[in-house]
Structure formats: C-alpha cells, structure tokens
C-alpha cells in the first residue's frame, strides 16, 4: 500500500516539477486548509482526557549544616490535564518550548510511558490497557535518533525493523526500495549504516517510520539537523502520504514554525504541560489580527532595556534578537493597537536608542506563540530536554 503511495508520489513530483507555482508557500497553505476536516466530527485518531504525567526528580538539598546535605526528591509536572482531540486524516502539530511536555505526550501516546493521571486513546484504544493493539497501528520517528546496527546495511536495517511489525518480506523490500528512492538514499541501500552521514541516517530513520504503513505516525522533530533539501523531501513526502491516504494521521512536533504553518491542519500550542491554544494556523493567527506586530531595528540598548520595554503602555509582548556582535537588536512588539507604537518610540527615545528600521508585520505563527507562551521558540533553545 505504501509502495503504491510512493509510486504515485513520484509521478506527482514529476508533474509538480513542471509547475513552478507548486513550490509556493501559498499553495502548501491552501492544501493544508483543504485537507482539514470540513467539520471536526469525524472519527478520532487521538484523544486525551485530563492527561497528566509527573516525574520524581532528584535535586540537591541546600546546605543546612552537615545533616542537611544530600538529595531531595521533587515532583516535576510535565503534563497537566491535557485534553486533546486529533481527527483521523489530520496532520496535527504540537508546538511548545523546551520542557513544555511535547515529548512526554508523544511517549505516552506511543505506549512508552505510563500517564500518572487521565486517559489517552489512539485509534479508539486505551494506550495503557490496549498497549499491544495500539502498537500495531502506530510508528514514531524522532529527529536525531540513531536507530540501526552499524554492521548492517541501510536496506537490512529497515528490513529488520519492518519484521518487528510482521511485514512480509516481499512487502518490506518493495516498500524499502521505493522509500529509499523518495529520500534519495537508493544508492546507499547496500552501504553499512556506520558509514552514513548524520543526515543520511536521519532520512533512513524517517523511512523506518513509514515502511510499516502505520495508521497514526508520530513525528518528533523529524527534520531536526537535516539540510534544506532533505527537510523539504521529508515535508513533501509527509504531506503527500497524507493526501494519498486520507485515513492516516500524523502528529508532528517541530521547532520550525514555518514547517508547522506549512504542514499542519491544526496546531496545539503547549507550555508547562497545558494546551494553551488549539486551532488551524489561520485561526491562530487571527488571534493577533487586532493586535498589530511591529519589528523595530534598534542600536544602543541592552537586554535589561528590553525587559523594561515590556512595561510600556500598550505593549502586549516584546522580544529581542541580538544582531551579530550584540551591538544592535531586532525587537518584535505585539501591541494592543496601532496607536501604542507612539509610546514605544517615546520609550526607545528615552533610552537614547537609535532606531534603524521600523516595519509593521502580518502576524505569524511565531507571533502567536510569543503572545501565548511569553517568549519566542528561539529563546527556548533548539533542543528538547529529553522529556
């Protein structure tokens, strides 16, 4: 089935190559909207109800004489009553900063971790009570994972993992060969994976997730560390795989806002273990329609000044990105209304800052993220914390 999809995908890619409009972001965005369920009443692929997960973590006790030294156990809340509904056929995105609980959620849904509260269902099955049935229906790809034994070739490794899902040899080899063509690894099929580059390994891992033809696939930062071309291949394949098999579901976590915006039918923004918002990218951006976003290039200020600017009347959020050398900043302001820009200019003037540029931007998903989470994804770093 997957092989047929791949074949169709290749034919379509050939057609798309002749159509320059096919690469435009608008087209991708339109596709996403068209693919979203017309009304959210279809069968659910994923459902969580009050899903919670806490961890006991060791922490160093503060010195209180000799007796006070040692380790103490703290409770860390990774998920805090998450309610989520993902419909069959959706490409659903999960956005959140480090430690937000994204990976914890995926681990629970993939039966790798037990929740401490609430319930979770995948394809209508309880992930705790029916773990084995759930496993038949899912697969997961994590960006940066190093799956596979170096002594085996790419083809052998993928075949091995397909066997853990009971795929027949004929289907497995056919799908593997087709998938390797798609991710442009066909010439590496018989090379030991110990001699692959990191990016090539990651593309191989991506294949591993799809060769078992899962009903629900979890993609945890699938393009992390990939070059532009490889990331595009991965995104295109994901989208087309969904298009060809409308009953399949993808849950994607990514740090790349543009990727989420381009690919996802709906997005949930999660922070501190809670879902802050969940809607289509377009609707999420509408949250900021009445709150204009200004980008101002400024020289002669420092980080402390930026914190102070958030107190300026009419400012909802402000983030700053230092330019090379740290002598100037690009500040992004989300304002209550356009008139507040005057207060911002006055505040900058009072700081003796020199304004080098000023632009009013259309709200992006990143702006929505900043408004909801209070900081940009870049401020949160690029790697998750392992949860």
């Amino acid at each position: 089935m997957c092989a047929r999809v791949v074949e169709q995908w290749k034919m379509d890619k050939a057609e798309e190559a002749e159509d320059t409009d096919a690469e435009s972001p608008d087209r991708a965005a339109n596709w996403s909207l068209q693919s979203a369920p017309a009304n959210n009443t279809g069968p659910l692929a994923i459902k969580t109800e009050q899903l919670s997960r806490t961890y006991k973590v060791k922490s160093q006790k503060k010195d209180k004489g000799d007796k006070g030294k040692g380790e103490d156990k703290k409770t860390l809340v990774a998920l805090n009553g998450v309610d989520l509904e993902v419909y069959q056929g959706e490409l659903f995105g999960l956005l959140g900063p480090n430690g937000a609980g994204k990976t914890t959620l995926i681990k629970i849904l993939t039966t790798l971790l037990a929740p401490t509260g609430g319930v979770a269902y995948v394809d209508g099955l309880d992930v705790v009570k029916n773990a084995n049935e759930v496993r038949r229906r899912i697969n997961m790809v994590s960006g940066g994972e190093t799956s596979g034994y170096g002594i085996l070739t790419v083809r052998e490794n993928l075949w091995m993992f397909s066997q853990f899902y009971g795929v027949t040899w004929k289907d497995a080899y056919k799908t593997i060969d087709e998938m390797l063509k798609v991710v442009e690894l066909e010439d590496k099929a018989n090379i030991r994976i110990s001699s692959l580059s990191t990016g090539q390994r990651q593309r191989m891992n991506f294949c591993r997730g799809f060769i078992t033809d899962p009903k629900v696939i979890f993609l945890d930062e699938p393009t992390l560390g990939l070059d532009v071309n490889a990331a595009r291949i991965v995104r295109d394949f994901t989208r087309d795989w969904m298009q060809r098999q409308p009953d399949r579901t993808v849950l994607l976590t990514t740090h790349y806002m543009a990727e989420a915006d381009e690919l996802c039918d709906r997005i949930a923004i999660i922070d501190h273990g809670k879902v802050l918002a969940c809607d289509t990218p377009t609707n999420l951006k509408k949250l900021l329609q009445k709150q204009p976003v200004f980008e101002i290039g400024v020289a002669g200020i420092n980080d402390r000044n930026i914190e102070g600017l958030s107190q300026t009347p009419g400012v909802v959020r402000v983030t700053g990105e230092a330019a090379q050398g740290g002598s100037s900043y690009t500040l992004k302001f989300i304002l209550e209304d356009e008139s507040a820009i005057a207060s911002v200019i006055n505040a900058l003037t009072a700081l003796n800052a020199s304004i080098t540029s000023l632009n009013k931007n259309e709200p992006t998903l990143e702006d929505v993220f900043i408004k909801l989470v209070g900081r940009s994804l870049a401020d949160s770093g690029t790697m998750d914390d392992g949860r």
């Binding site: 006991k56 039966t111 971790l113 037990a114 190093t146 993992f161 853990f164 009971g166 289907d171």
Partner: protein
C-alpha cells in the same frame, strides 16, 4: 499491507533480531580476535601449566572444552545480559517496546544469533585445540553428548535472557556487573579444571551457586561424555559430580526456570520502567 500476528510475528521478530549477529559473525573480523584468539590464549596457558605439572593428558582436553564453553559464557554475559541496557542507551529499546512484537522474541533472537556467532568461535577454538594440542574426543555416545550440549545452551541462554531483563533496571551499572560476573563464573564453573575438585574444596553455599551457573553442570556432563573411561583399563578419566543424565535433567529444569523468570521479569521491568520513566530517559 499484510502484517503477521501471533506466532508468525514472534518468529519474524526473533529471526530479524538474530540477523545482525548472524551477518555480523562474518562481517566484523575483529571479533574473531577477541572471541577466538583471547579465549584460546587463556586455554593454552592452562594446557602448558598442566603439562608442566605432568597432569593426566585428559586435563588438556578438559581445558580445551572449557575454552569452547568460555566463548558461549562471554557471549551470554556481554551480548545477552547487557544488551538491552546498551539498546536502551542507543535508543533502540524504545523502538523494540513500541513495536507489536514481544520483547521475548527480541531476546530469543539475540540468543539464537549469539549462539550462532559463538558456535563459529567455539568451533575454531575446538579445532585449534585438537590440532595444536592433540586433544582426542573419544565419545561413544555422540547423540547424548549433543543433547547435553543443547540442554546446556538452553539453560545458559535462558540465564542470559533473565539477566538481560534484570540488567535493564540496573541501568548504568550493567557494565560493572558484567565485569564482576565474568571471572567468578570462570572459577565457579570449573572452566579450566574438573568440577569435582572444586566441589570438594569449597563450602556448600558456593557449591549451590556454582550449580546454578549452567556452564558448570554442562561442562561436567560433556567432559564425562566426551572423555569416557579408558576402554582397555576401565579407569575413568574424570569423576563427575553427578551422572550426566541427572545433570541434563537439572539443566533442563534450570532452563525452564530461567526462561519463565525472564518472561515475568521482563513484564514487570517494562511496567516499572514505564511508570518510573526509566525506559525512555537515556540519561537516567
């Protein structure tokens, strides 16, 4: 896409997990050095020692057989018992758990693959011993000897499966634990000397510990079967601690206990790991 379930899935998964070891046996030549040459050097040292002491020539055969068995023991210790721990470190364990196949199938595959790999090494050690030291196996009951070997392997790899699930929870200490087991088992199993000499010299509890290690009774049974009494004089070359038949029965029982324990422990450990989040957190 058709996907197997039940027994078919179990066998597919076991075969697939055995595959890297079967292929690896031929692809990674350095393993030949570590798993043939090093055990053989150790064996050779004992051969020279026994000859220097004018020990009965049968002792050379005992030591070579011990060398053969040591390749299996090292394989079980380093490539079975510690394997799930390494897999966890590499992130493979998550993939195994997440797949619908049983973890027992994965363990079985590791065992079968390891057995194949070790058999190549063991054969090389046995051939080298025969050629270089003139060891002559004079078994009159080859079928029984093969059965004794099979039962020993069943118990030994069953032990490996059980230890594998225990090591999974021991976490980062797995390496040290393997290291701690290696030499004592060489000693307690009589790898380089007849087991009865050891049993006559150590306290009862240690005898019990020795008997639980499948290599001990397995080696003792094989030595009795492969080095029978001299047909002309009727003088036994070795005094076994128990008759081979009894030892084989004990080994069968141990094998069943080990495999059943592996199954139960794995279930328990997997659940605990999921609850305590130790399954997927590589840094813990």
């Amino acid at each position: 896409m058709h996907k197997s379930t039940g027994l078919q899935l179990f066998l597919r998964a076991a075969f697939a997990r055995a595959y890297p070891r079967v292929r690896g046996a031929n692809r990674e030549k350095s393993w030949v050095f570590f798993e043939v040459v090093i055990p053989f050097i150790n064996t050779a040292a004992f051969v020279f020692l026994y000859r220097a002491l004018h020990a009965p020539e049968a002792y050379v055969g005992f030591v070579v057989l011990g060398g053969v068995m040591s390749t299996y023991w090292l394989n079980v210790l380093w490539m079975m018992a510690s394997q799930l721990y390494w897999d966890k470190q590499e992130g493979f364990l998550e993939l195994y758990i997440m797949a619908p196949s049983s973890l027992m199938a994965i363990l079985l595959g590791m065992g079968v693959g390891g057995l194949y790999m070790s058999t190549l090494r063991a054969t090389a050690v046995a051939l080298a011993g025969t050629v270089l030291f003139g060891v002559q196996f004079a078994a009159s009951q080859w079928a029984v000897a093969l059965l004794a070997f099979a039962v020993t392997m069943f118990a030994l790899y069953g032990l490996g499966m059980m230890l594998s699930s225990v090591f999974l929870m021991w976490g980062r200490e797995a390496w040290q634990v393997s290291l701690a087991f290696q030499e004592p088992v060489f000693f307690l199993s009589g790898m380089n000397f007849p087991l009865n000499k050891l049993f006559n010299s150590i306290p009862g509890p240690l005898v019990l510990v020795s008997a639980i290690v499948p290599v001990s009774l397995g080696l003792d049974a094989l030595r009795q079967l492969l080095f029978p009494p001299d047909p002309s004089t009727g003088v036994p070359q070795i005094t076994g601690v128990l008759p081979p038949t009894i030892e084989m029965m004990i080994l069968s029982g141990l094998g069943v206990i080990f495999v059943a324990s592996a199954y139960l422990l794995l279930k328990r450990m997997e659940w605990l790991a999921k609850v305590e989040a130790r399954l997927s957190l590589r840094w813990q």
